[in-house]
Each structure stands twice: as structure tokens, then as C-alpha cells.
Subunit: 436 residues, 2 copies
């Protein structure tokens, strides 16, 4: 029995399971206009309340995936593996991770996003490299993945158009925070890349989309279950996002810091996060038998400059100025530097990633609406991380702006993001859980 | 703190109470286009799941009411009282009730609706009277209520436009079945009539919108609570709608039957329902001290021909052929008469009002879409009511159609609506509850 579209909304509203054909019908009707946006919105809100089981979520993922082009990377040899992060503050991991993993022999086709709200985006950070283009078409993308081992572009209009349409609706109808909808949105785009395996970095904490470990674990588990059902090898790591990752928050400064990692430098937490995710990718890609072996291989690729060489090739292939790879200081960071100092002695017990992220948006490093531009040169450096012992007058952070006045509205906010206490905090491990 | 519209959707989604100003903001934004239809749909679905408390429902009612014109009937003397039925099969009560109550000195300004689905509509039935117009403007409506005591029109575009807009959205987004939304829809239209008091006939059973006593009671209680909070005197009766009310189901034949009541004839259940509701209206209107006194007054108004005289004046004032009031047989009923006979001896234990209603729609007496026309002359007569003893070959019902073939698709369906048993059913009282 074929049900009408209104009946399908009513059935989901009443908690019934929809068949894969019915979910396909909803998505294709939304795209061809048979299902109006207002009906789509009602359906999404019904899903928000009633959820989707794994079979329904797979059906939604596949329907969204198949609404567009699925890249054919069969000409690229090897097990193609990508990484997706649910987003955080200072999360520039993709930029160093993709060339590093590619340097170890695992092709990494990566379609990334832009920053929105407190959370930054890989595309914005990469575009701080003069000339770098993220709007390549799919044939150029495939060619570069084959030749260089990795390529990083934005979602083209051919990739999962249903996801674009649905995400735009969710954004304005208060239906973003639904695990099955998040899972289908992430996986439909990632599966469209033509990958064989996927490593997920599910961030948890103040600066993450998922604020609690329980929420993050639920999302990670759903991603792994649904991705596996959809025929891919999937591993998820839960990593801490209470404080910003690394030191730099912004765009050019974050790309600098990612390049520092490939130079064997950079902040310890960023290096650790990169190696943890990279090890998973190497094992999934069949280039290491276990995480320890993978880690050794990754460290060697950094030490020998192999990862830097891949990065140089990728930047050049994507029309960017490859000289920045050898000399990250070529990336322009705004000249005015406002230091935020500790007002007393103590231990840094917390650095609120959300507040740092929102402060960065306020000076132009991010956007609150998708049609806004970002200033690649501005940003914040978080020098004192949780656990650090500081004395009154020590620098906690720097704000990088083009004029002194530009920093004024956020000075107090950035200072307040640093919580000082008499005793050091209980250390919060970067890796909180591994889900397979 | 003023919240954005998306925040208001999210707050309702998360089960928070919205302030009256916030509800007003949602409704006015929907009307002026700041809140898109898809956001309205998401809000309605959130309300479906989370509900609205009485204060929120009053705010929604008032916002919808004040989106349009509120009639000023201050020039009409007396306590203005209307009746609203939640709709059923064979429910022609308004047509005899309004002139009867008006004849007893209570002005009845009545804005009615059209049939949709299995449920008939007062406007369609009245328009079976040649020339009768239900599309009068509000000034003519007020004048006729003042001069005649009652007038029956359709919802004008000036009355509660927000309700029209929201109802259209609910209809296509599976958000009709929400008690606070139903309450606000009913009350916003009724309060716009400029009434002082309202009697509600909440139908319960197979042919009603509310299938169970619990649902109907919940709706009736909410209507009374919210209507009272909105400053009106409100009483609700729960009445049985498992079998059709009266004998006639259709349009012209229903109007005939309503006129029969004013002639002191007609089916007992229809007469009883009219008197029950009329008694409440007379008490609310201050024309009787109690239901017994009111009933005596109503019966006298029928016996003395006073109700018929008001009906005649109303039909004439609304441009209809008033001769039908004295001679209801002037109303054309389709000439082809298909009798449905009992196939065995027994007691009628049930007559499925929903099936009779849908059968009437199928022959053209009703509509499945709002843009369809109805044929006033076709219909069904339900001769054997629950409790009746029948012998094989006795007529259970007549189908009135323009051609024999037109009845063919419904003959079996109408027959199957009559359930025969060996023993009489437990009588189901017409009045199931009274809620104040």
C-alpha cells in the first residue's frame, strides 16, 4: 500500500517505523517539490521527537547520498580513508592529518565545510593560503587524490544536494539537534566521496556540538553503527573539546599551527590528536597492523619530511602558494597584538572553548550567517591551557586584530574564559573513548 | 530578553512555556512573513508533541482572534450566545437550533463551516435552500442578527485570518490532532463573532473527530477552561456520534429534517439534541433560570410556531426562498431511491456513522477537498437506528441519487454499516456528559 506524504508524516509523528522506500519517497518528494518545505519541516520535527532506528537512518543516508553524485575513485589505488570531526574550537587537525596519512600510503579524499557559529571550518583555514582553491570540480579532485594522495575541497552542488536542502531547513526550524539527522547528514556527504573507511572525531565538551559525554557517545555509536550498516569500515574517537585544541584559534594562525605539526613542532595536544586519528586511518587503510605500528610510521613521515612534501604538492595542485608550507610565517597574521594577562597567581583550571570560539567570531575570524566572509588574519592564541601554573601578569592569551579598537569588545570575554584556581584541575584526557 | 523566532520554536520543542507575548510574536510573524511557513510547520509539530498549557492556549486564541476583525454586536440587545459542534454525520442541529433559541429571546450570531471528509457542514445544508446566501458581509450579518435574532454565515476573510492560515498548514503537515490547536482554532473563530457565551457540542464516537470518550472529554474540558479564561461563559455537552444523528444524511434532506423539528416533528434524537443544547443557551442567555424552565420555553416556541417564524425571517433576510420553511418538501431530494434491506431478522446493534458519512461523500453529498462542490439533492436516509428490531426484508436505509448507477459503489458499504445482532444493544445515551 502506497501511503500519501501526509500519512508518512503522521506515521512518523505517531512513532511508527517507515520503510526504506517510504524514506526514499520523502526525500525525493522534497527535492522534486511534491513535498513542500513546510511538510519537510513537520517531518523533521516529528523525527526530532520520535527518532529513526538504524535501518531508517541508513535509508535516509542512502537517499541523501543518492540524491547527488557519488565520486568514483576506483582509479585511485588503495583503501581510501577520510576523517570527519563534529567540529570544535581550534580544530585544525584535518590540515596536517590528510597529507600526513597520505604520505604513509593511504589516499585521503576530503570534502570539508566552513565555519559557522563558534566552530571553525577547514575550508576557511585553508583559504588563508594565498591562491588556494577549495572549489575544484570532482574530476580535478579525483585526479589530485590520485597524483598527490590527498585533496581537500568544499561540498560541491553535485554532492548530496538533499543534505544541503535538509540542513538549510533544519537550521531555521530548530531541528538540528537530532542524532539520526546528524548521522545521515555527516555520512551522506562522506560516503559521497567514494571512501572505503572513515574515522570520526566526535568532540565532547564546552566547545563541541555535543556538550556531554553521554550525548557524544550516543552520536559516535550511531555513526559507527549506521556507517557500518552502509558498508563502510568506521571507527569513532571521542576527544575532549572543553578547551580549544592547540594554541591558535582563527584561520591563518591555525593553518600555521597545522603546518608546524608537519615540521615536527606545534602544541602537544594537537600533535597527539593528529597521531591518534592518523593511526586509526592507517590501520583502516591497511598500512599498519595496529595503532603502535601506525604511530611509528606517522612519526617517521613527519621526521623525514614526507608529510611536508605531500602538503607542498597538495597546496600547489590546489593553486596555492606552496612556499607557505616550508615557511608558515608567510601566512599573514594581523599585526596588532593584545595580550590578556592573569590577574593573580594560580592554576588554569578551565579555558572555555565556547567563549573563545565566540570571541573569535566577534573579531571576524568566524561567521554567524553562512553569507558572511571571514578575515583570515585575525584570531586568538591560547597560551595558558588547563593545568598550567600562572603568576599574576603572565600572558594567558593574545588577541590578533587589525586595530586595537577591534579587540575591545572581547577583551573581558577572553579573560573570563580562563578560570584560575588554587589547585591544578584533574587532568582531562584528550582521548575519552574509542568506539568501533 | 527578546528571543528569535527559531529560539521560540526550540523552546517549545524543549517543553518550555512560551509567554503570551512570544505566542503573539509567532502568530504575527507567521502572518507578516517573518516566520516562514516551514518554521510555522515546525512550531506546530513541536506544539503537537509538547502541548500548550491553558495560558498559552488563551494567548494563541487571542492572537488568532485579533489577527482579524472582532464583530461588534453591541447594538444587538441581550446576551449573545452561539453553539459550536465538533462535527458529525447527520448533525443538522444548528439549522433548527439557531432560530429556536432566537425565538426565545437570545440572539444567536452564528458563523459556520462547510463539510469536509465524512463530516457535513451547516453552510452546505443551508445552501440547499434556493437563493440562500451565506456569504454576507459583517454589516449585513450584524443587522440581521439585530432584526431577526439570528443569522448564519460562513467565515469571512476578515474573521481570524491567522486561523485560516494555520489550519491550512495543519491540514497538510499532520498536525490537526492537537487539543490546544483545536481549541484555539474553534474559540478564535467563535469569539470573533462578538458573543458573550458559547455552548459546545463535543461529539464522541465512530462518526466524530474524537473517537473515544477520554479524547472528547479532554477536548471539552480544554474548550471550557480556555473559553472561560478568555472571558466567556462556556458550557460543553458530550453527545453520542456513533450512529448518525436523525435520519437524513446529506444536504437538502438534512435541512428538511431540521425544518421538521421546527414543525414539531422529526426524529426524536435530533429533537432531543436540539433541546439539550437550546436549554443551555437559554440559561446562558438569561432567558431561563434552569434547564427545565428553558426546555418548557423551547417546546412552547416550537408549538406556537415562533421558531418557524424566526426561521422564515432569517431565510428571507438571507435572500433564500422562505416558502421552504412552511413546506420543507419544496427542497429537492434526488428522485432515484435505492432501498437497503435487512438480510435477516434481528436487532440493529450499531449504525456506523463514519461509514454512512463516507458513503454520502462518495455519492456527492460531501467533499474530500475544499475546492469540490456538493450535490444538495443526494443523500442517505437512515431508517433503522441502534436498538430497532428488524425483520429480513425490512428497509434499513434509502440512498437518494440522481441515477441508479450512482448508488452502486456504496450499496454494500451502506448495508455493512448496519450491524445486526440477536439481542438489543445496551442503549447509548445521547448526552454522555456535561462539562462546565
Amino acid at each position: 500500500m502506497k501511503r500519501s506524504l501526509v500519512e508518512l508524516i503522521a506515521r512518523k509523528r505517531d512513532g511508527h517505523k517507515l520503510s526504506s522506500d517510504e524514506i526514499q519517497q520523502v526525500i525525493s518528494s522534497l527535492l522534486d517539490g511534491q513535498l513542500a518545505d513546510y511538510q519537510g519541516a513537520a517531518f523533521l520535527m516529528a523525527v526530532f521527537f520520535r527518532g529513526l532506528d538504524d535501518e531508517e537512518t541508513v535509508a535516509l543516508t542512502v537517499a541523501m547520498l543518492e540524491s547527488g553524485q557519488v565520486l568514483d575513485l576506483s582509479s585511485v589505488r588503495g583503501v581510501k580513508v577520510d576523517k570527519h570531526s563534529t567540529g570544535g574550537v581550534g580544530d585544525k587537525v584535518s590540515i596536517c592529518l590528510a597529507p600526513l596519512v597520505a604520505a604513509c600510503g593511504v589516499p585521503v579524499p576530503m570534502v570539508s565545510g566552513r565555519g559557522l557559529g563558534h566552530s571553525g571550518g577547514t575550508l576557511d583555514k585553508l583559504e588563508a593560503i594565498p591562491g588556494f582553491r577549495t572549489d575544484l570540480d570532482v574530476s580535478e579532485f579525483s585526479r589530485i587524490v590520485g597524483e598527490v594522495g590527498t585533496c581537500m575541497i568544499g561540498q560541491t552542488k553535485e554532492i548530496a544536494p538533499a543534505d544541503k536542502r535538509i540542513y538549510a531547513l533544519r537550521d531555521v526550524t530548530a531541528t538540528v539537534e537530532s542524532i539520526p539527522l546528524i548521522v545521515a547528514s555527516i555520512l551522506s556527504k562522506k560516503l559521497a566521496e567514494g571512501i572505503d573507511a572513515l574515522v570520526l572525531d566526535v568532540k565532547v565538551g564546552r566547545g563541541a556540538f555535543m556538550k556531554t559525554a553521554a550525548q557524544a557517545r550516543a552520536l559516535a555509536e550511531a555513526l559507527v553503527r549506521v556507517g557500518t550498516r552502509a558498508g563502510k569500515k568506521v571507527v569513532a574517537l571521542l576527544t575532549d573539546m572543553n578547551a580549544p585544541l592547540g594554541v591558535a584559534v582563527g584561520n591563518a594562525n591555525e593553518t600555521r599551527e597545522a603546518l608546524d605539526i608537519l615540521h615536527g613542532k606545534g602544541p602537544a595536544d594537537l600533535r597527539e590528536c593528529t597521531l591518534l586519528l592518523g593511526a586509526e586511518m592507517l590501520v583502516l587503510g591497511g598500512r599498519a597492523a595496529n595503532a603502535d605500528e601506525a604511530r611509528t610510521r606517522l612519526e617517521a613521515a613527519i621526521a623525514k619530511g614526507e608529510a611536508l612534501a605531500v602538503m607542498e604538492k597538495m597546496v600547489a595542485a590546489q593553486h596555492g602558494d606552496a612556499r607557505v608550507v616550508g615557511d608558515p610565517s608567510r601566512l599573514e597574521v594581523a599585526k596588532v597584538d593584545i595580550a590578556i594577562a592573569a590577574d593573580r597567581d594560580g592554576f588554569v583550571t578551565a579555558v572555555d572553548a565556547l567563549e573563545i570560539g565566540l570571541s573569535a567570531v566577534a573579531i571576524g575570524a568566524g561567521r554567524t550567517r553562512t553569507d558572511q566572509a571571514v578575515d583570515p588574519a585575525v584570531g586568538i592564541s591560547v597560551h595558558a591551557k588547563p593545568g598550567a601554573r600562572v603568576r599574576a601578569g603572565d600572558t594567558l592569551a593574545h588577541i590578533h586584530v587589525r586595530t586595537k579598537e577591534a579587540a575591545t569588545p572581547i577583551v573581558d570575554r577572553v579573560r573570563a574564559a580562563f578560570v584560575l584556581g588554587a589547585a591544578p584541575p584533574t587532568p582531562s584526557p584528550l582521548l575519552q573513548a574509542r568506539i568501533t
